[in-house]
Amino acid sequence: MFAQFLFISSALLTLGGAVAVLVTKNIMHSCIYLLASLIGIAGLYATLGADFVAVTQIMVYVGGVVILMLFAVMLTGGKDFVSRAQNLLGLAPSMGNRWTFSVGILVALVFLATNIKLILNVSKSIPAKTFGNEFPSTVNQIGHLLVKEHVLAFELSSVLLLGALVGAAIIARPRKQ
């Protein structure tokens, strides 16, 4: 009962946050709704028994990415920019208008349709397993996997992070004229 409660509340938080990200007109609010959605996903991880992944999700996204997003919004002013560039559908405000939403939803529906076809096949082919209450600790196993089987990816990701660190610092540095 507790697990189901957690699952339903997390799913609602996730999807509700995502929909709010989609529909709200304020970029700042969008970021906060994204935060809600990401915490919901962490909850979903928890229902899947992925405790380490769930906490990492909170750690990285809440502690890092979302604050970074908020910073970016604030450093760019958060205004509603209107492009002067040529556009087939007229001037588009930065948070979108009827036309952009129509195109987006149309494309999304096409993709949704194709993927539903996929999911139907998948859920038929994979037998439903019983959902036990057993949640073995994943920390040790993930630790072993990271330094044994996936050590190359682990090292590569550290190189990637270093590159992103240096690259971001270099790109965002104000250049002398």
Partner: protein
């Protein structure tokens, strides 16, 4: 109720919403928000498959790497956004068409 299909559907809806955000918004930061949604949908799929389809934790590893890549992507992407804003004084995506400066 809490089977594989429900997770897949949640992730699919999240993915589709992410795509819609990426297409409908013209604000680059908002597009980055959509990208985060899409990446999280994919990571959720990995963990769900790892729970329901296999006995090992490789899916967890994959979603961890997705989180790492998403963090790196957010850092570099937002650095680019800020630099772009310094030059063009806008973050409208339609202005970013020249591939230079």
């Amino acid at each position: 109720m809490m089977g594989l299909a429900s997770y897949l559907i949640i992730s699919l809806i999240l993915f589709v919403i992410g795509i819609t955000v990426m297409i409908a918004r013209k604000n680059i930061v908002a597009i980055l928000l959509g990208i985060e949604l899409v990446l999280n949908a994919a990571a959720l799929n990995f963990v769900a498959y790892s729970r329901f389809a296999t006995n090992n934790l490789d899916g967890h590893i994959f979603s961890l790497f997705i989180i790492v890549v998403a963090a790196a992507e957010a850092a570099v992407g937002l650095a680019i956004v800020i630099r772009f804003f310094q030059i063009k004084e806008t973050i409208h995506v339609d202005e970013a068409t020249t591939l230079r400066n």
